[in-house]
Symmetry: D2
Subunit: 133 residues, 4 copies
């Protein structure tokens, strides 16, 4: 992604790229893709009936990551309270999804990778929230 280049070129940014937010944007788009992919891979597993909760968490996490990533990409005007609340919801979603995926990490490689991606995004959320407020 060219998140830094894009945000740096924004007329309102003037050098203040807010690095924690940049990292969050990348991690959020990554996590949206990974969770979408993990939900689908879980669906194809023989033991799909045991992975329902994991699929549910994956789909929810993908939705909020996509919304938060898009929202964090905007720098025109301001919407800090909304952005902070959205990243907080994203952090919660990533944490829950990471916890569930971790439980199947040894059995399913896609869950292991997804747990990692969710933890990374949850961490990026925490850093970004402190920058937004």
């Amino acid at each position: 992604m060219q998140v830094r280049e894009m945000i740096s070129a924004h007329p309102d940014v003037q050098g203040s790229t807010a690095d924690a937010l940049l990292k969050f944007i990348e991690d959020a788009y990554d996590c949206a893709q990974t969770c979408t992919s993990c939900a689908d891979a879980c669906l194809a597993e023989d033991m799909v009936a045991d992975l329902r909760q994991c699929i549910r968490l994956n789909l929810d996490c993908a939705d909020i990551c996509a919304a938060a990533g898009a929202m964090a990409s905007r720098r025109t005007g301001s919407n800090e309270a909304v952005l902070a609340a959205t990243i907080r919801a994203c952090a919660e979603a990533c944490q829950r999804c990471a916890d569930d995926c971790q439980q199947h990490a040894e059995m399913h490689e896609h869950c292991r990778i997804c747990a990692e991606s969710c933890r990374r995004c949850a961490e990026a959320c925490e850093q970004a929230i402190s920058q937004v407020q």
Copy 2:
């Protein structure tokens, strides 16, 4: 929308449709469409330069409404903390967008309708949150 019919037909629901959540789903999808439409109508106004903040709030509101509406549509397993945090972010977005659109309500009919749609969704958020937790 056939939200009630769909949720009633869900194998895990068994009669407990959680009516405030049903209303929220409808209002969230409606608000996502209205905000997408209002952002675009603001963009076409002669005074677009004065409507930048409104467009920003509209786009953010559309994103979180779409994510929250999809998330609230799911009843498999459970993800209450994430759903509650997401609806809270949605309430915040709708409130801010309603406030800004209201300021241009007399001048722009699309902002008047959008303010109404956002207020309705913000109210539905409040009702839904108390049901989720």
Copy 3:
């Protein structure tokens, strides 16, 4: 939804609301919600392993309906070729999803409703395409 009111208030529309597109927008948002809901209800069924293909089609259909509904809501400038191609993809997705859901319509009420919603949206796509081009 207040699709007609919103589009009528758009500065570039000037009375030409393009009714088939208005109907498509409503049907596309409805279908996005219904397919999201049906994917989740299928996931909760005892026979989830037999509904994998249906869930896949539901999720794909929800994604393209949401994108197409948002795109069709815009009237600033023009982007006809892209809109037409997107609605064509949406028609294809709705048709496939309707066909698959129809096969489980007698067993699962959510699939019956979803098949109906997809057929309605597929029909709205056809009407809208002839208006866009």
Copy 4:
């Protein structure tokens, strides 16, 4: 992104990762972010009134890229005709958006980067379509 790792771990893939599709997924998520960012940067420009068409194309392109990227991430069951039609719409959107952004590339760095990202994704679309069909 960890697209290759995720798809390789999918139970139905068995070594056939369909490399052109993998590249498309990455480029589509990238392009969704870049177009979201470019729409917002254009909105903040002094000459926003001259960038309306560019913003419109950016928003449409972001929507279809996000939908297509998610859809292409799924490998459970099959949905080739829908995926192909969606990637075709994505190619069209990327091409139009690239052409418009290119016109402002010398004046606005964000448009230059976005034109590049759109061209890359349009090219990835062409490669992916030939693999899907």
